[in-house]
């Protein structure tokens, strides 16, 4: 084998080895790389206790209740199967909306309400003008509704 081919092989093997190492590492880390915990898991009791964690889901339609004289806000978050009540006090990001994705950082209280310290709004990858969005609203009506499909009892048992 020529020296050049040896060097080519060395570079190729380095890359292949790295790819395998990275793949194994990510397989091992796996679920821990998730940015948030699913709502169904939280309701079923599978969440890290006594420390802060993140939940992610959709803000349930018509669930946002604001206090008139403070920054207190209450709403429910769903993964379309189960839902979880969330309490927060502070300024909400611009993209926070009912039916839109949201990530909340905080901990679960004894009363089953998630006390959020930080609220982050997740954006989708659609970009369009308001007029276009209005035209599309007809189709959007039969899109996924941000409501829970299972009853609270079913969620606690699953």
């Amino acid at each position: 084998m020529k020296p050049r081919q040896q060097r080519m092989l060395a570079v190729g093997l380095t890359l292949a080895g790295l790819a395998v190492a990275a793949a194994l590492a990510f397989r091992a880390v796996g679920d821990n790389m998730m940015f948030f915990v699913e709502i169904s898991d939280v309701v079923a009791g599978n969440y890290p206790e006594n420390r802060n964690f993140r939940i992610g889901g959709l803000v349930v339609n018509d669930s946002v209740k604001r206090e008139l004289d403070s920054l207190e806000i209450n709403f429910r978050v769903t993964d379309t199967r189960c839902e979880l009540p969330v309490a927060y006090s502070g300024v909400l990001p611009d993209l926070f909306r009912e039916g839109q994705g949201v990530v909340a950082h905080g901990r679960l209280g004894g009363d089953g309400i998630f006390k959020a310290e930080k609220i982050m709004a997740k954006h989708d990858e659609e970009y369009m003008a308001p007029e276009v969005a209005e035209q599309l609203a007809k189709h959007a009506a039969d899109k996924m509704e941000a409501v829970a499909s299972l009853s609270p009892e079913e969620c606690r048992q699953s």
């Binding site: 570079v11 998730m34 926070f96 982050m120 989708d124």
Partner: protein, 254 residues
């Protein structure tokens, strides 16, 4: 035939020829690139409609997306040139790799900054440490810094070339992670808008300025890279006869 091609390649890759060619080509990339960016940015900021959810805030996309694209593109140029330099012992390839690093770092910095400025009002956070997309982009910036620091730390150019090329090749894994992080994990960052199976998920009036800016940024990067390659070649060949001759001629004019 093959011999003729290799000879042509060697002549093409000779330092004085590259120095000349890069100098001639650079303005042909830089000037159209600059004009495209002016046009695209003007269209993007004033003519494109506002977004149905984000309003005018979405317009930062016209800087953020081209920067993000080039932050990865520059890395691939750097790693590929490094690999070519290692395998074929080509000094010029190492000069290209060394020239690409600061440009890539600049675009990565721009990506992170514009992302944070947009993220605070829209997402409600400047930066999230646990987020795979944001974390891998930050690692990309540190890889560029590490690459430049490694080069600076080794005095012998040939040794610096080899060591930094290996680092660049190893770091390619991170570029793949940056690219697919939003698909593999649940990230706060939205998924792909432009490169999807169903085509771009963006209205035409918003998309056109973005494509113009993508092309403009790429041309500026190319032209700027050539300018840096020129300087790099000149420095590496500072003891060569052709550089001395050129310097002497310049001196005579001054």
């Amino acid at each position: 035939m093959w011999k003729y091609l290799t000879r042509l390649f060697h002549r093409f890759a000779s330092p004085p020829h590259v120095y000349q060619l890069a100098g001639t080509l650079s303005p042909w990339l830089m000037i159209p690139g600059f004009l495209l960016i002016v046009w695209g940015t003007w269209k993007g900021l004033f003519l494109a409609p506002e977004d149905y959810q984000q309003g005018d805030a979405f317009r930062i996309i016209y800087v953020h997306v081209p920067s993000a694209y080039l932050s990865q593109m520059a890395y691939m140029v750097m790693a590929t040139a490094g690999a070519i330099g290692l395998i074929w012992r080509m000094k010029l390839a190492h000069a290209v790799a060394a020239s690409a690093a600061p440009l890539g770092a600049a675009f990565t910095f721009l990506t992170l900054t514009t992302g944070a400025i947009w993220g605070k009002p829209m997402w409600g956070t400047w930066f999230e440490w646990a987020d795979p997309r944001m974390m891998s982009a930050l690692v990309l910036l540190f890889l560029y810094f590490g690459y430049m620091a490694l080069r600076a730390a080794i005095d012998d150019v040939a040794k610096a070339d080899k060591a930094s090329a290996m680092l660049a090749i190893v770091g390619v894994v991170n570029v793949v992670i940056v690219r697919y992080s939003v698909e593999w994990w649940s990230s706060l960052h939205q998924g792909q808008t432009l490169l999807t199976d169903e085509g771009p998920r963006m209205s035409e009036g918003m998309l056109a300025p973005l494509l113009v800016n993508l092309l403009g940024f790429t041309l500026i990067f190319g032209g700027w890279l050539l300018r840096r390659v020129r300087t790099e070649v000149l420095f590496r060949e500072r003891r060569a006869a052709w550089v001395r001759k050129m310097m002497a001629a310049e001196g005579a004019h001054a």
